[in-house]
Amino acid sequence: MPRPLSPADGAPARPAPLGYAPAPESRASVRLRPAYGLFVDGSFTEPGDATFTSVNPADEQPLAEVTTATEADLDRAVAAARRAFDGVWSRTSPAERGKYLYRISRIIQDRARELAVLESLDNGKPIRESRDVDIPLAAAHFFYYAGWADKLPFAVPGVPAPRPVGVAAQVIPWNFPLLMLAWKIAPALAAGNTVVLKPAETTPLTALAFAEICQEAQLPPGVVNIVTGAGGTGRALVSHPGVDKVAFTGSTDVGREIARAVAGTGTRLTLELGGKGANIVYADAALDQAVEGIVTGIFFNQGHVCCAGSRLLVQESVAEEVVGRLKERVTRLRLGDPLDKNTDIGAINSAAQLARIQDLARAGREEGGEQWSPDCPLPGSGYWFAPTVFTGVTQAHRVAREEIFGPVLSVLTFRTPEEAVAKANNTPYGLSAGIWTQKGSRSLWTARRLRAGVIWSNTFNTFDPASPFGGYRESGYGREGGRHGLEAYLDV
């Protein structure tokens, strides 16, 4: 009679992990120039006298030299946008504008692999995310707003013939470079505006690749202008007298500064700023999926997400179980080479951001929080921070109040739904929140009381071009995405 299998049967005595061999995505699809000028009036200028270096945050190696735009450069870019608005784009039929946007979406899809690799090189995010989230969503935004271009009479209730605003100055952050560009440019162009966009100084490369895409799509010169530089360039752009509309995504401090600069000028303004999102887990949640949602909420894109679920609020009766499961799950996250297809956690975008995360983590320890990370070796070069969970956190701790913008989760507990809502709302921000419960009535009860622009139920960090996104209070104002996202670019 055959015997049941036993360990002696030639199998390893102890089962071994499967392990994944290195699976790096090739860099061959990316053709970088050694130095980039600005993209103004449909063509690239020669690289300027003042340049800065964009580095790969995973190994600190330089990727390309990029020009710092001067005030004269900005004047030329704004003037090109004005000429294009007056002379071409505002006279282009809505259906034709839509065609250009469709063409751009398709080119993004055609060049998806190249753009994903480039985004991961410049930003440090895992290729799994740039390939499966950033680039497909960027294309989706252009597709979505392409469809709106000839349906603008239905965009704003009661406004049957809305007109474009004019020239938009747009300043975007480094966390989702191409996606944030798409959020800004797609609705602006669909509504008939022209734009001058400045990408973040640590991640300018996909915006410059997008400039090539505009050329490939034969977009009329001046409709899209890309200017590069650091904070000073951004400040000069948003306060330029030639712009009709300013759209900014970034930190709350800079947002305040822009609001002051723009106040009283008649320039329209939308701000999408920071957040300290609460992720509320009730005892009756589907716990395994809630744990996945907690992980997605804070470790997606290394936590460089304005709407991150950085405060976990878990009902006390399941707190121990949830934190236990969470730690087990976090132990399985794979940190390392952003271009490896199996990497879950990539590099921190810059040395400055890493220093800020380290500083806040230190404050968390000093204030009595208990810091935990899995046993997670960090690469020798580049900017890295292990996924981190703080327990024993109270509302008074800095790690529960300040936006860390890194892979650091603060765990707080609550006893009743009322207490969950009170704690969730006890923040100057109001961008995002998550609710985990299997009970629909509890989910609706909670959502009605939360002060947040985006509330997810039994999911987190889920995005769709048709869904408006934006914040309350210190998280900014205005909405991007969906029909609502058009209103900021229409004169209504």
């Binding site: 009679m1 049941p4 299998l5 199998a11 499967l18 061999a21 949640a285 999926q289 039994n458 999911t459």
Partner: protein
């Protein structure tokens, strides 16, 4: 988590039902999202070679047809012992899986080897026979030398909420798996998840079967569609993980039905790796119920070794 013996042996259905209904729910969209994310894992080169050999060792090579004959079973047994005639380093599979009346044939063909003989029993696949008949079916298979019994639960009883009946029948089958001359036959309990009402039911049925003494929980008979979806396998892996945490006993998982390609098998192994970890990456705790999968594993293995595909006719069709 309900884990006291009293809960499970309390007379009547009410306590049992309350305990199972108290398990945390399963969010189907969340499960699907997790499975989709894990499907992007890239298992290549040396990792793929190791994974393919592990998958071969986990196969329960199966023939469950009305037309099965001793000749067919002997051919299957030969294939199980030596899957690839041209590559003697390919390990044997875990077991062959046959109907009860063909167990003696399989036992003779596999005598002295490490390959187990699994028999479906309890009036597979519907299970719609009187309990006595189902137990007799099982006794016959065990007496003929089956080392593993793949039983089906009474889905009708489960769907009417009579968890007590399902539990007691698993216990009864487990009792007749005992053998006077050696180890009891290992009991795999088939939940037939394609006939249950969603993932919450899969989790309840998993806990019920584990508490009743299952050595393995198995997704499907292979006769009902959908069979072993990755979503259901993930839910069952979470159940065995939580059951071990609660009771200390480690139960195996066997997805069966619809796993045809090496890619399917690797996705299953990735689910194991990232849900329950290495402790389950072993044929004693994870099996793949399949018939056509083995040849695809062999072809992919040869591709890794030689760099070329040799085509299906280079592998025996059994």
């Amino acid at each position: 988590m309900p884990d006291t013996v009293a809960t499970w042996t309390a007379p009547g259905n009410a306590v049992l039902r309350a305990s199972l209904d108290a398990l945390p729910g399963v969010d189907e969209a969340g499960v699907h999202a997790r499975v989709a994310a894990l499907a992007t894992r890239s298992v290549k080169t040396s990792a793929k070679a190791r994974a393919i050999d592990l998958a071969v060792r986990m196969v329960d090579l199966t023939t469950l047809e009305g037309a099965d004959t001793p000749g067919k079973v002997r051919a299957l047994a030969a294939k199980a012992l030596r899957p690839d005639a041209s590559a003697p380093d390919v390990p044997p599979v875990a077991a062959v899986c046959v109907y009860p009346d063909l167990v003696p044939v399989a036992v003779r063909a596999l005598r002295g080897s490490t390959v187990g003989v699994a028999s479906v029993a309890t009036s597979f696949p519907a299970g719609r026979a009187p309990l006595e008949a189902r137990l007799a079916d099982t006794r016959a298979a065990v007496a003929s030398g089956a080392t593993e019994i793949d039983m089906v639960i009474d889905r009708g009883a489960f769907l009417t909420g009579d968890y007590r009946k399902v539990y007691d029948e698993i216990v009864a089958v487990r009792e007749v798996c005992a053998r006077s001359d050696g180890e009891p036959a290992h009991l795999k309990v088939i939940l037939e998840t394609g006939e249950l009402a969603g993932h919450d039911d899969v989790r309840r049925a998993s806990w019920l079967a584990m508490h009743a003494g299952a050595d393995f929980i198995k997704t499907s008979t292979g006769k009902v569609s959908p069979a072993a979806t990755p979503d259901v396998t993930l839910v069952m892996l979470q159940a065995v993980r939580d059951f071990r945490a609660a009771t200390g006993r480690q139960v195996g998982v066997k997805p069966a039905g619809g796993i045809r390609t090496t890619k399917d098998a690797l996705r299953n192994l990735v689910l194991v790796e990232e849900t329950v970890g290495a402790d389950w990456l072993d044929p004693r705790f994870f099996r793949l119920g399949a018939s056509s999968l083995l040849n695809d594993l062999l072809m992919q293995r040869a591709k890794l070794t030689t760099g070329t595909y040799s085509g299906p006719d280079h592998y025996s069709a059994d």
